[in-house]
């Protein structure tokens, strides 16, 4: 159980929600299953998997950046300050934070987990370089916030964000966004024999690895659970044929 501290619309259908009272905060790339407690909570029944945008350990707060895409997120967006919310998590494997220069590529709401990743990377390896590419269909969000924690920010509105990226680099590359974008990034990277990290999204029911709703195909023909084996995978694991 957690309490809502803030739940503000920051752009069309995009909200920032801060909650307090999580027992654990989680690491970059992990997510929580969020579910309102009051009101009609059996339609929809399931909790919503939302990745961690930021953590404030001093205040004990976790912040989520999320997009309203259906009934469940619509209800989340209607929650008010001091409303209680059910939280399960942190869940999933999260990003490996490497002692290396990094390139982050985010598309749309997929930029969400990259903020905390860049912040933690800066804290752990302050002398390393961070480049971030943010792609949006119509307009940018949170540009200043991302600029403040990265050394270099490249914005792409309406085009293909992956076209701006130099994949032939020694940097560690992390990608989160729509599946076609992540596949495009994987294809670019594979051409230069580079493996990259991708953070997948899928519909989930349990979020903890029990129900197999979110299974994804892997390159060796087996299946993995996005919620528990992921959501972060090497592109070579899930996108290479």
């Amino acid at each position: 159980m957690a309490l809502i501290i803030k739940n503000n619309k920051i752009s069309d259908n995009i909200f920032l929600m801060t909650i307090s009272g999580c027992k654990q905060y989680g690491k970059p790339g992990q997510f929580f299953m969020l579910r309102p407690i009051k009101g009609n909570i059996s339609d929809p029944i399931l909790a919503r998997p939302i990745s961690i945008f930021d953590v404030d350990k001093e205040k004990g707060n976790v912040t989520f950046l999320y997009q309203v895409v259906g009934k469940g997120t619509e209800i989340l967006s209607s929650l008010k300050v001091d409303d209680e919310i059910s939280v399960i998590g942190p869940l999933g494997n999260g990003f490996e934070i490497e002692d290396n220069d990094i390139t982050l590529i985010g598309g749309g709401i997929g930029i969400a987990p990259l903020f905390y990743l860049a912040k933690e990377h800066r804290k752990m390896f302050p002398n390393r370089h961070r480049t971030i590419h943010l792609g949006f269909r119509d307009k940018a969000i949170l540009e200043d916030e991302y600029k403040s924690i990265c050394d270099n920010l490249v914005l792409n509105i309406g085009g293909y964000v992956t076209d701006d990226v130099d994949f032939d680099t020694n940097n560690t590359i992390y990608v989160c966004g729509p599946t076609p974008m992540m596949k495009a990034a994987s294809t670019h990277a594979k051409k230069v024999n580079k493996d990259i990290y991708v953070s997948l999204e899928n519909k989930m029911a349990c979020g903890v690895g029990a129900c197999l709703v979110c299974s994804c195909k892997t390159s060796d023909g087996t299946k993995k659970r996005v919620c528990k084996d992921g959501p972060v995978f090497h592109a070579s694991e899930v996108f290479y044929e």
Partner: protein, 303 residues
């Protein structure tokens, strides 16, 4: 709150510490929820449905939410019976809950070879799944009519050394006849219901949501129908009945017990609220105390 005798339940000669069991397909093999709830408190765990050689399950979307329910089309993704015997059984056993293996199949031989392999481990119960609606061949087709349900029950019973709980499909033409046929064929108990066949259509894409078109409906939406079927079957057979279908709190569980169930299984609501089964166990305990019951079985089948 922990006087265990209130809830201790004899299910087909197997003693459960309480009558609350995690439903197959909703709880993995017991370890996935171990960091979230106290799994050792559960009466039993029915593991993910197994097939002889394992399966990658269905492609495409696997879940779709409906008012008070979900449609699923997992398609029995599972690591196979051998993997279960070698790796998952011990994990399940360590949970402290009764161990129930759920066995499905596409053809008769899958069931028989699977059941033989499962003789290698000390299961508490073998749950025979003749009711999965999400695989193209087999599964539910065995459970649709009494004759095929009885035949597979009889043959599995012959080769298995375990107590046999046969899980029925609510999609059968006459579930009471199927239940009676399974009893006559040697089933030690009956569990019902598996999911109801349903469908969803994406009207914007102008196509079915699921690759298989049809999928299985579970959750509170189905509870009144499941309760009615459990009531009917309980009246018709003399072997124990395990009731499931949309149970979300202790009051639902008590309704199933009053309708004749010896134990209950909980599935979909665990996804929404992982503590659901723990809350039900606590609620049943309190109900017994408040109503002066020595054991929950005193209200079994009173309706």
């Amino acid at each position: 709150m922990s006087n265990i005798n209130h809830l201790e339940t004899d299910l087909m000669g197997i003693m459960l510490k309480n009558p609350v069991i995690a439903a197959s397909g909703t709880f993995g093999f017991g370890s996935d929820y171990a960091n979230i709830i106290d799994v050792s408190r559960l009466g039993g765990i029915s593991g993910k449905g197994l097939t002889l050689n394992g399966s990658k399950g269905n492609d495409g979307q696997r879940v779709y939410e409906t008012p008070s329910g979900i449609l699923n089309s997992i398609g029995l993704e599972n690591p196979g019976v051998r993997h279960f015997v070698e790796h998952e059984y011990e994990v399940m056993r360590r949970t402290g809950a009764a161990v129930i293996a759920n066995l499905g199949g596409h053809i008769e031989n899958d069931y028989l070879e699977g059941a033989k392999l499962l003789n290698k481990v000390d299961l508490d119960i073998l749950e025979l799944n003749i009711s999965c609606p999400n695989v193209k061949n087999g599964g539910m087709s065995f459970g649709m009519i009494p004759e095929t349900a009885a035949e597979i029950t009889r043959k599995v019973k012959e080769v298995s050394r375990h107590k046999l709980l046969v899980k029925l499909s609510p999609n059968a033409y006459d579930i009471v006849s199927v239940a009676k046929a399974c009893e006559d064929a040697g089933a030690d108990g009956i569990s019902l219901v598996n999911t109801f066949l349903g469908m969803a259509i994406d009207i914007d894409k102008k196509k079915a949501v699921f690759n298989n078109v049809y999928a299985g409906l579970s959750g509170p939406a189905i509870m009144p129908i499941a309760l009615r079927m459990v009531h009917q079957v309980s009246k018709a057979v003399s072997i124990p009945v395990v009731g499931l279908g949309g149970i979300s709190n202790y009051r639902d569980a008590i309704a199933f017990i009053m309708a004749g169930a010896t134990a209950v299984q909980v599935g979909t609501m665990t996804f929404a609220v992982p503590e659901t089964m723990i809350n039900i166990i606590d609620g049943l305990e309190k109900y017994c105390i408040d109503n002066g019951l020595e054991n929950i079985s005193q209200i079994r089948g009173i309706i």
